[in-house]
């Protein structure tokens, strides 16, 4: 065993670092839990210091909320809707942002244990950026899209909402309108078919959301590892800044897309 080379590679998946019964705790889950603890502490600190005349941290946070609400208004078109969706969208934003940046901290991905697997020694870090694991991004994307559907049903009613995807109404309309406009017999089946394409579109939403985030963050980690491999001192620094920016932008994109889905699904479709 001695002298054998330790395999040090970025895997596409998060590796398990501990077990509770049958449940494997991966390093990505560990990081996300650390991020959770950070956010909870921050939340409590902010909650304790909320005053009518803001100071320090509250000022900054209010500025962020005001800024976001301004951007949200541009997407939702009304302050009421913005305020309704803001908690969810901001939670997505902050959770993803903290997780993205956690992956860049020194010690994340570099402190770990060496495990023997298939006769090879493999280095497994204790912490791995949570968004560099498809489980996290898939969970978030699915939640976001499902939430947008729930809000849609609540906003415009289940019958109208169902007809967005499985367009029964289009067929029911044919006998009524056929005398006025015979083209309806051609147009409405096409409308129904478009509805079915929308169903596929919803799947694509989940896939694009989850893989975009995962791909960007994972690629960042690979990029930083590659640069460190060339020269550990100095060379990764500009890429580090780049990744800080990418982490922010990806969190923003994810949150904004969720908000867009929420807005689109809660608006009744008019033709």
């Amino acid at each position: 065993m001695a002298g054998e080379e330790i395999i040090h590679e970025n895997t596409l998946y998060a590796e398990p670092i501990a077990h509770i019964g049958h449940f494997e705790i991966t390093n990505a889950l560990a990081t996300s839990t650390v991020a959770l603890v950070i956010i909870v502490i921050l939340g409590i600190v902010i909650n304790r210091n909320i005053k009518k005349v803001p100071t320090g941290l509250q000022n900054g946070l209010e500025m962020i909320i005001e800024g976001f609400l301004g951007i949200f208004d541009g997407i939702t078109g009304s302050r009421k809707k913005s305020l309704q969706f803001a908690p969810v969208v901001l939670a997505f934003f902050f959770f993803i942002l903290i997780n993205n940046w956690m992956g860049l901290l020194p010690g994340v991905g570099s402190i770990g244990q060496i495990v023997e697997e298939h006769g090879q020694l493999i280095f497994i870090p204790y912490l791995r950026g949570a968004t560099a694991d498809l489980n996290t991004t898939l969970a978030l994307a699915t939640l976001g899209v499902v939430l947008s559907h729930i809000m849609g049903v609540l906003a415009i009613g289940w019958w109208k909402y169902l007809n967005k995807f499985i367009n029964i109404k289009a067929f029911l309309e044919i006998p009524k309108k056929i005398k006025k406009d015979p083209m309806v017999i051609l147009v409405n089946p096409i409308k129904a078919f478009v509805g079915i394409i929308e169903v596929i579109g919803e799947m694509a939403k989940i896939a694009s959301l989850s893989f975009r985030l995962f791909g960007n963050v994972f690629a960042g980690e690979v990029l930083l590892a590659s640069m460190s491999a060339i020269l550990a001192y100095g060379v990764p620094i500009p890429f580090m800044f780049l990744e800080v920016l990418v982490g922010l932008i990806q969190a923003l994109i994810f949150a904004m897309l969720i908000l867009t889905y929420l807005t689109i699904n809660t608006t009744a479709e008019e033709h």
């Binding site: 596409l12 998946y13 998060a14 449940f23 494997e24 991966t26 990505a28 889950l29 996300s32 839990t33 991020a35 959770l36 956010i39 909870v40 921050l42 939340g43 409590i44 902010i46 909650n47 909320i50 005053k51 009518k52 803001p54 509250q58 946070l61 209010e62 909320i65 005001e66 305020l83 803001a86 908690p87 969810v88 901001l90 939670a91 997505f92 902050f94 959770f95 949570a130 694991d133 498809l134 489980n135 996290t136 898939l138 969970a139 978030l140 699915t142 939640l143």
Partner: protein
């Protein structure tokens, strides 16, 4: 799909665990930060709105009060002038009255003194007359007692009767 799961190690338990993490994050952010912050922010907006409106109202009222004050001052001045004029007039009247009364009283006193003087004079004259008469009688008696005789008395009586 199978290869997707094996490549990325997608695990429903991990998905749920991440969802739970996110749910906690959402709850903390919503109940500890977002909700109270938005409440405070809307309250502040309302307070500022109200203060601005109040300030406007106060300014208007102030302007109104100033004009009112000016009006009151002008009215008070007018009234004061009126009062002074009236007081002057009354003073004049009273002065005239007092002078007239004083004159009258002085006249009365003078008249009374005059009357008193005349009566006293009359009395004194009367007394003087009386005393003079007595004196004359006395003197005459003394004179007559010595040289009067019966003849002469008769003669004198005759003369006097004639």
């Amino acid at each position: 799909m199978e290869s997707l799961i094996s490549t990325f190690h997608v695990d429903i338990k991990l998905l749920v665990a991440q969802l739970v993490n996110f749910a906690i994050v959402f709850c903390v952010l919503y109940f500890f930060a977002f909700k109270p912050l938005v409440k405070v922010m809307t309250e502040r907006t309302a307070t500022i709105d109200k203060s601005l409106k109040d300030a406007d109202a106060i300014e208007k009222r102030l302007a109104l009060t100033e004009t009112e004050r000016d009006e009151i001052i002008v009215a008070a001045k007018k009234q004061a002038n009126l009062i002074i004029e009236e007081a002057d007039k009354r003073g004049e009247e009273r002065k005239g009255e007092l002078i007239a009364k004083a004159k009258e009283e002085i006249g009365q006193v003078i008249n009374a003194e005059k009357a008193k003087l005349t009566s006293e004079k009359a009395e004194t004259l009367k007394e003087i007359k009386k005393e003079t008469a007595e004196l004359v009688i006395l003197t005459v008696e003394k004179l007559l007692n010595e040289k009067m005789t019966a003849d002469k008395d008769k003669e004198l009586i005759k003369k006097l009767v004639k």
